[in-house]
Amino acid sequence: MKKLVILGGGTAGTLMSAKMRRALPRDEWSITIVDQDDDHVYQPGLLFIPFGMYERRDVIRSRARYVPKGVDLMLSGIDVIEPDDNRVRLADGTLLPYDFLVIATGSRIAPAELEGLTGPGWQKSIFDFYTLDGALKLHQALEDFRGGRLVLNVQEMPIKCPVAPLEFLFLADWYFHERGMRDKVELVYATPLDGAFTKPTASALLGGVMEEKGIQVETLFNAGEVDSEKRILSSWDEREIPYDLLVSIPTNMGSEAIERSDMGDELAFVPTDKHTLQAEVAPNVFVIGDATDLPSSKAGSVAHFQGGILEQNLLDAIAGRAPCADFDGHANCFVETGFGKALLIDFNYDVEPLPGRFPLAKVGPLKLLEESRMNHWGKLAFRWIYWNQLLSGRELPFVDSHMSMTGKKAPKDNPVAHVAA
């Protein structure tokens, strides 16, 4: 029996296990997937928890339920990967040999990377919402908030779901409106980027939405320290931002197992071929999802698009052929803008988010780069799609792994809208 081992049973690992179980003959290949616990969290839903729109039970399900028959789920911590010996060592010392390995260990927040963040103010006046625990505690803090300055800080790029911080602020604006206290709250966005977002057209548009909603933006802000006694966030270039409530997106890093295996870059992301998804370390190791060091977005939609590419490349590599399917960096994200509306952006390595219709030209029904109610329903429907279609590794109707220009309008002065490489 040949062995395929998948590390991480989150979005990417689960969908890959389903794809590969369908693709590989059961009498020749065993598939094992490893994760540390049985709690599969629908992470896009974490955004809604602080505002009471979702609760714990809306975002958490048993992993086992989504791992298909014929795949062994092992609930155990991963200690180290030993690519030279084609095996993985689990936390309890068990050795797991493999013929092919897929790393899907995602990314995690590392709050200790910012001095003072986890000090006495942590989870009192400083919160995250990238973990379920953090999002639930932040909900309580928002309910108790009587007004003042709420600062959202992105500590360092890259982060998973780079639009989530903006969405948080848009929803906060709505939430405080609904509570009749928007005039008592100052909303501040402190980002290391030089604008609201990275890609030019979307950045200008989202910057405009920020302004409309009266959200102050502090750009090129590289946080160096938090003083939680004085409630001041300061940057390396000595700018100070006082806060009453600090919502932090701490540094995102790859899994500690990657660090222990000495297989990561300075953020513990795994060096990966940006087109084939093969790990640089060995030809029988592939990487998918947030765990890679690719310049694509770290998002569930990206893991989905990568899945189609990775399946072909794994099958090629198993058959002794050179992997030739080519990932183009395709990402597709709904951006909640508050008051029951959302935007949709669709882009890849080379083409920035553009206005237009999606997925069908003229018809849509979704509008790109434009606020609409339909997009908001799209965002909410994503939860159903996630559990019922995405995790089972099925293709989504009309949406291909490769980005399509259908329905997109390129800016006149820059017909291909290439982002300088």
Partner: protein, 105 residues
């Protein structure tokens, strides 16, 4: 895309003044871009960072992040801000004749 002249040499730059072809870069160009950005003279520590940025860009195809520079070139973050005030990653890339770091997405 337009052309700028640094140290008497015409080079291709983007709308924000970042060189688009690292092969056109010379140490003299670095000194002039540095001066225009208020850094004069470039010290040995600046050069340690610039050398690393150029080597890393050559190997990786993208300019390094500040975190990468601090870890791999052994220059602490605090010092990076003293050497290249405000946006050290962006400024170091500019002086090193590299494209603007995208900060990923």
């Amino acid at each position: 895309m337009s052309t700028a002249t640094f140290a008497g040499v015409p080079v291709e730059v983007d709308a924000e003044g970042f060189m688009t072809n690292p092969d056109e870069w010379t140490p003299e160009i670095a000194e002039e871009i540095a001066r225009q950005n208020g850094i004069d003279p470039l010290t040995e520590r600046h050069w340690a960072v610039i050398d690393f940025c150029r080597r890393d860009n050559e190997a990786k195809g993208t300019p390094p992040t500040v975190r990468r520079i601090t870890k791999q070139a052994g220059v602490p973050t605090k010092e990076m801000y003293q050497l290249f005030p405000k946006g050290p990653g962006i400024l170091a890339a500019k002086i090193s004749g590299l494209t603007k770091p995208k900060g990923c997405i």
